[in-house]
Subunit: 350 residues, 4 copies
């Protein structure tokens, strides 16, 4: 039963001092939403700030449906700090119409990113069949030279360019999150650095154990082809997937350092997946407490809703809200924080 | 002080019967908003239904930023019934990369429209300097042949193809809504059929008189280059501009017949501009009444909020809401319904 | 990533013709939300209209926290058609301060209801221990005379007044939905007519079978003590519980006839519980279809979201939205329509 | 064109670990919104924190429509820090039913405030005709003794109790904001400390000068009789009036010290009224800046939207959003910050 704001919209302009309104033309540019960025409040910890990132993005230069600059505008208005442009090397269905080399989409996006202060990482998607599957190579210098037949040779070229390599959507397209020998070898060789625990509208629960088991960084990326706002944007509590990166600053260099150090959490559908310690610190940074009589006032200063259980009781701490609970004793199970498949963070209020 | 829905999002899938959820992969496709169309409730009258239309739209094939299929998806999800693709003939800044003939963007959009039942009209924008300015030609057969030097020759070619021609944004770019002799001549010759009272984020109040004065149909179109949802989509009461067309059916033929008959209203910022009779009938179809004691219960079944004044009193009838007012006597001035510049509809409750 | 409307709020009044704005005082009465009723769109069928009702409501005259007129205002603004005031006979914790006879809260509410056209039914809650538990008596003439020691005598007095009697929250307070012999006897004697499948924030799944088994009408009522908007109002998709009644008109007499005929469904949390045929007809009245190529366009004209499954596939038809699905074959299981405990409606598109 | 979250609500409970869900009863207590407080983000400055307060509130003990505890619950859920209960002494239309002494409503509210950590101030409204009009006396010890015939005697009794006295709604009920001699005398005598620049749904522009002219503290209070959520709660950007108090802590003592020092701003309809210096410091604390190339990135960390003009240009800084503007030069006029009638704050970005 939502109430709406009753706007009084007269034919006359809203205000004499709106951007240019003479007798001939009334302008309402201040209502153009594209100029407003919605900040996502996720606190940092230990001197790190939390960068909100999406490392898997397509444009019309491969099989996406928008010009690269749109990806930057989407990310900027939606409060992200960094994106990677990762058009497919091998799959470019519009190539008869859209004609350019494999670096062009990044170049366009980068110019837009520089304009608004959003970090845009040069990347590409090496798009092969399983067992290898799809891999995103970030921080590359030239995508064109990876257009080779042998999948592992493409990986080697990326690696030689100093790429940071992500194993994309391990459970797609066969609905099996199989860890093949080739992945073990590439990880051991330092050639796979991260993987997607969430991709687009899917999660891969089996992979939630891979950070603990293989030391590769968990990520949540959109793999967006259409419009973010058309697929995801539907009000509070439901956001595009994002990879949280705990970095010393909001620069490409600081971002890269944090990625190399595997300081990431995958965030989607309200769930956080990754390292137990980062989870615990993020919860601690999000929930501020004050004692009120025999109760604890818990204020969630973040945009992440936390759900905890203790025995039969469920405690929800909604984003941006305060809750009063009986002075807590002992450990809580944080339902939306996972450090492995079915392994929930335990948390104690200080 | 908005309340939010506290979602309980567990790592486990929401339901065992969600679209495929095995141990390896959980899918949340039902949350993909792109598959849901939000209906816009605007009633018809006199046997006509109200089609919600946008006749001015760009894609990457001229200077827009999305693939043509996106324009159909935007319009479909946002509740429109018909759009025209009107890429510039003369201005194609991406043409070194995006290489195709001038009909290609329509062809792509049309295929998408057929898929989802949205009417897509073949159009183009003849893009010249003032005095002529920009004109949209709808229902054309071939845009390529209009790429000629003489502006009026381009108009004649469109006219020979049976085009329905719209005079775009009369107040742009010089902030003057000048009616030049050439427009008078083209109207007299039956070559200009309609004009934009609203374009993108602007209104042209002087032109509000042109339906009454010249018999050309008022329109409100987006002239969208970026994303609709990024520029306009910000909650209730603020929608993309749209041209309301009162047609005998939801088909291209019925739409064209209605356009030729000038049965349109321009709708933007909550304001309706156009023919006095259509305004009155639309208000009447929107506001349902029931007597409650000495008061009148007025239920607005439309998604248009109406604001009326009578003397010092202001009456707001919000979209989808019911209001109780003292049994009304005499005429009301409808603040958001204009049949000319500063000329408001007067309305009496029956 | 919700967008907000950027309001331009200047110190000057929004419009010269707002309700009285002289140099000394600016009034913004049109922004007072209490004067706007949000309609709930739930279609009728078979010549019946669907009345949205709440038959279990408290005020400061028993242990609620608001004056009776507030209950009418809440119901009116939230789109309900009828409520019953059902203050406890036996439990009146504020009685040292709030001093009045047991009919006073109804009298106050009724006057407010007459003012705005909301049906207000005279009721009371006979408040006893289990096995009998709590019973609401509707359409009574005098609550005072039910203040007797013997629970069954109180029921008889209500019955003698022609009361329509509801068995409240069968699973409260012991978390057991036990059907005791006394209930069987009262039903057989025609003294219990209905029961609550949903009460406040609880559901009683075992009772979902009682309409089919005992012929008593299912209801969903709030049993509200605090504020509706404070407990329930949190955006789309989460509304106060309501009992849907399929009546020949929006009058107390038509409502009563429908209640006697057991034409009700319980509606809460998006779920509908009750008679198989009413469920099927309501779904049919809610979902309008049109063929688009090899797909079916399904428009949900109601404010109820329907979720259906067929094999592994999940189909969601959100309130007020349109969805395109492959031309459907065979039966669908409607997940949110239940004619018994775990018994879902099956539905075929025509 | 709002998108909604498609919830999958099955008959089965949302989660096995929700608060008690056995076969008989499913509980959804975590969805009860009354347990969640929405924080209002308004930063402090100079070591002060900003307390959000409402010093004018009625209950059923005078002519309001709710029990006193509800006022605390409303304020708590809506993010306020302090309220005063100010039931009329002289006007108690329900007194035949609601029987108690004049301190009882405060006592009830205070117990609820202690429970949840909300500051509840003992107050009353001395309710006389103009010229004196209505006055709220805060921090009183006994309201009963103010029930005397002579208005100024009542003020003296309040003053003798150490009351902090507010001149309520100067422009009501005659739509004239007249400053009478009696007010000058009371101010000079230190008996009027503050006044309402905003009350309920009204503003009194002439009074905006009174802080500068008479040194009395500006306030914005609701004077609520009905439900806050029913009158005001309609989404972002439209909140109940509130008095911002810049205090050294969130305690009654700190609040009182700040009130005595006149460290307040009146906040309603997005407008702030009061001392030039506090306005400037609040803007500065709200708008964080970062240089991006030749532009300034301005992040509004507050829940207050600021609108500024410079020449013909309008700059809107929405609550919680970031905007990029050309590196600003010179002063801006802050449209929604007023230190007098028609006197806007000027602001320079550092």
């Amino acid at each position: 039963m939502k109430r709406i704001l009753v706007l009084l919209m007269l034919a006359a302009p809203l205000a004499a001092n709106a951007q240019l309104s003479n007798d001939d033309v009334h302008k309402y540019d201040h209502l153009n939403q594209s100029q407003y960025r919605t900040e996502i409040n996720i606190p940092g910890f230990d001197g790190y700030q939390t960068l909100k990132c999406d490392f898997h993005i397509h444009t019309v230069f491969s099989d996406g449906s928008v010009w690269p600059s749109v990806r930057v505008q989407e990310a900027w208005t939606e409060g992200l700090d960094a994106i990677a442009i990762t058009d497919h090397i091998e799959y470019r269905p519009f190539k008869d119409i859209v004609q350019a080399d494999l670096n062009e989409s990044y170049n366009i996006a980068r110019r837009e990113g520089d304009r608004c202060g959003l970090i845009v990482i040069k990347g590409t998607e090496i798009t092969r069949s399983k067992p290898l599957g799809h891999l995103n190579a970030l921080f590359i210098t030239d995508a064109n030279v990876m257009d080779v037949e042998d999948p592992l040779q493409a990986v080697d070229i990326a690696d030689a360019q100093g790429a940071y390599i992500i194993w994309n959507h391990p459970g797609w397209p066969d609905n099996k999150s199989t860890f093949y020998p080739v992945h073990g070898e590439l990880i051991k060789a330092g050639k796979i650095d991260a993987y997607e625990a969430y991709n687009y509208m899917e999660s891969y629960p089996l992979t939630f154990d891979w950070y603990a088991e293989y030391g590769i960084a968990p990520m949540a990326n959109t793999d967006i082809h259409g419009l973010i706002a058309m697929d995801y944007d539907c009000g509070d509590g439901w956001m595009r997937p994002m990879t949280l990166v705990f970095a010393t600053g909001r620069t490409e260099a600081a971002l890269r350092e944090a990625l190399e150090a595997k300081r990431t959490l995958a965030f989607f559908q309200g769930n956080l997946v990754g390292d137990k310690e980062y989870l615990s610190k993020l919860v601690g940074a999000s929930l501020k407490t004050r004692t009120v009589g025999d109760r604890l006032e818990v204020t969630n200063v973040s945009d992440i809703t936390y759900s905890m259980t203790q025995g039969d009781a469920l405690y929800v701490f909604p984003a941006g809200k305060t809750v009063l609970i009986k002075t807590p004793q002992g450990e809580f199970t944080v339902q939306n924080c996972l450090w492995g498949n079915g392994k929930h963070l335990t948390y104690m209020f200080q």
